[in-house]
């Protein structure tokens, strides 16, 4: 009797533990290690690409994606996260993988058109409905009554674009005076109560947790939050000037050669430049490179003067070293936890 009962309970427990389903079907797979606000874009694009690959070669490819702050993601790849392709927020993070791990060839940015950035974006402001604090431009962000939400430049790519966009604005206002620009950015970060590790975390902090008055956001992330949370919650403010954000893509050479996935990985990135790829990109609020596709979406993307990182900061390597390295300018101006 007890023995029977024992077996019954043990059986129930065994069912609880379950027998793991063995997914053994041998098929092609890719891992795309990406940054935060591209979740929706790549969820969509992966399906489109899989169909394209199937039509082209007859093979089935499944694409896995991992998202997080761009800097954290790059470090995870350096630390051993096995990516076939990386699609990160800025060139420096891919350079870092190339130089610290030699997983990617140093000339990666020349292997695809447009500096290996199939789409661009910019930095805009997201404010609460009706813009209660009347935030119009960058100089409103240093007002003492304004709390600014932006992620951590040490871990997030978007956060570095935010920071450099503010710096570039200040340079323009002050006749290219670096000291004044630093003062401006220091004042701005004095208004930042929390630094999330990625852009998505910052969006949730602003929209869902209702912290702060303005979110510095990727344009695509700002549009997406309006889609998700509704026009009655938040609205977009376009500043007078911003930065041209170029999120690049690259194949991880060592990994694809070892796994034998180079062909599909290269096509995965190239197809982003095709009309279908560019359409998908634009649908998810990234600015397409293709002028034909861009022409269809002129109403979606506001026109504003955009400066590039090469013009103002002399490229990513220099900007990273001056501003975001340990003990760099950002470390000097940010004093958290007041």
């Amino acid at each position: 009797m007890t023995s029977l009962r024992f077996r019954a309970v043990a059986l129930a427990l065994a069912l609880l533990l379950g027998v793991p389903a063995l997914a053994a079907a041998a098929e092609l797979s890719l891992l795309n290690v990406s940054y935060d606000p591209t979740r929706e874009l790549y969820a969509d694009y992966n399906k489109i690409f899989a169909a394209h690959w199937k039509a082209k070669t007859g093979d089935t490819v499944t694409i896995k994606a991992s998202h997080g702050g761009s800097g954290s993601q790059a470090r995870a790849v350096i630390d051993g996260l096995e990516a076939d392709v990386v699609t990160l927020a800025l060139a420096y993070d891919i350079d870092a993988i190339a130089s610290k791990s030699a997983l990617i060839a140093p000339d990666w940015q020349k292997r695809l058109p447009d500096n290996a950035t199939p789409y661009t974006s910019t930095i805009v402001f997201l404010v609460r409905k009706g813009n209660p604090k009347q935030i119009k431009d960058w100089n409103d962000l240093i007002r003492s009554d304004v709390k600014v939400i932006t992620p951590n430049p040490k871990t997030s790519g978007g956060a570095r674009w935010n920071y450099l966009a503010a710096w570039g604005y200040a340079l323009r206002q002050n006749g290219a005076d670096q000291a004044k620009a630093q003062e401006f950015v220091a004042k701005l970060y004095a208004n930042v109560p929390v630094l999330d590790s990625g852009a998505r975390g910052a969006t949730l902090t602003f929209v869902q947790r209702r912290q702060g008055d303005v979110l510095l956001a990727w344009e695509n992330e700002a549009f997406l939050s309006i889609d998700e949370f509704g026009k009655d919650k938040v609205e977009i403010v376009v500043p007078s000037v911003s930065i041209l954000a170029e999120p690049p893509v690259a194949v991880v050479d060592k990994t694809v050669d070892r796994r034998g996935t180079r062909g599909v990985a290269e096509e995965y990135l190239k197809y982003l430049y095709s009309p279908e790829g560019q359409e998908t990109v634009a649908r998810h609020y990234f600015r397409p490179r293709s002028s034909e596709v861009a022409a269809k979406y002129t109403e979606r993307f506001p026109q504003l003067p955009l400066f590039t990182i090469d013009e103002v900061f002399g490229g990513w390597t220099k900007a990273q070293q001056v501003h975001f390295s340990d003990g760099g300018v950002f470390d000097q101006i940010y004093k958290p936890g007041k």
């Binding site: 997080g68 470090r75 929390v194 947790r209 912290q211 936890g337």
Partner: protein, 286 residues
């Protein structure tokens, strides 16, 4: 309770002489397993934190943000343990002393926070206590915000800690002698007097133990808290989250330093509470 020890020392290591086989084997396996799974990794933690040197270690811990995180984690865990002491005692008392329909069900439900994964508790509590949630919506008109403030952390830690107090106190209530209470009653004591003078002193060691366990768990809790806390440095950022942030910045040494400090602090507090308990037991002879 323990083995009837014959106190006959064995030939080596002083182990008890027994006919039962398997001592070297089981001890060997246990030591190897513990070393590989627990001791070596924890040693790596201590070793990594020494990489900072004493100056760097102190600088990491004395950083205002770190201090604030410790204040938030330990302060709110203590507040939650106090709330659980009151309500846990109440629940345990009602479950042990009264019979009413649904008692069995409630008794079983008390363990829910043990069984429910913390991430599930986290998103559920955050939804429930946000401004448009079932409970948050009721409180919002009165200007009470729970989710994404330190109050949210408190709610999560009360949820997590409740079973510790109830399950520690329950068996003691069941064993409580009724004679003293009866005697006091016949002598004309009010029920409040009986509770304060007779019942509470007898239960206090158990309540304290339960609190200590709830507190220790609350200090380290991560999953249920991060969803409902505002995660604002200095205000609602808990120590485990600060560790994760340091890890994401690849500041491994800094994360280890905070981890080491946290281990030592919770250990010290548990030790202190154990001492108090021994002292109480001696004093009240429970």
């Amino acid at each position: 309770m323990s083995i009837a020890a014959t106190e006959e020392r064995g030939s080596w290591g002083g182990r008890q002489h027994t006919a039962i086989p398997g001592f070297p084997l089981t001890l060997g396996i246990t030591l190897c397993y513990l070393t590989a799974i627990i001791l070596l990794p924890l040693a790596a933690l201590f070793l990594k934190s020494t990489g900072l040197g004493f100056g760097g270690f102190a600088r990491t811990l004395l950083d205002p943000r770190t201090i604030a995180a410790f204040r938030v984690s330990f302060g709110i865990a203590l507040a939650a343990a106090l709330i659980n002491a009151v309500f846990g005692l109440l629940v345990a008392w009602v479950l042990e002393r009264y019979r009413f329909p649904g008692r069995r069900l409630i008794d079983g439900l008390v363990d829910l926070p043990f069984a429910l994964p913390t991430a599930v508790a986290g998103i559920s509590l955050a939804t429930l206590y946000s401004d448009n949630g079932w409970i948050g919506g009721l409180l919002a008109p009165f200007g009470i915000d729970i989710a994404y403030t330190p109050n949210g952390i408190l709610v999560a830690l009360v949820f997590i800690g409740l079973p510790f107090v109830v399950r520690t106190v329950q068996p003691i209530i069941a064993d409580l002698e009724h004679e003293a209470e009866e005697a006091a009653r016949t002598l004309g004591a009010t029920r409040l007097q009986i509770f304060a003078r007779i019942v509470l002193p007898a239960l206090l060691p158990a309540v304290l133990t339960g609190m200590a366990l709830a507190f220790a768990r609350g200090v380290g809790e991560y999953g249920s808290v991060i969803f409902i806390a505002g995660n604002m440095p200095g205000l609602s950022e808990i120590v485990p989250l600060l560790i994760v942030i340091k890890l994401e910045q690849f500041d491994y040494a800094g994360a280890s330093a905070i981890g080491v400090a946290m281990l030592l602090l919770s250990f010290l507090i548990l030790l202190a509470i154990n001492f108090t308990q021994v002292w109480m037991r001696r004093r009240y002879g429970a």
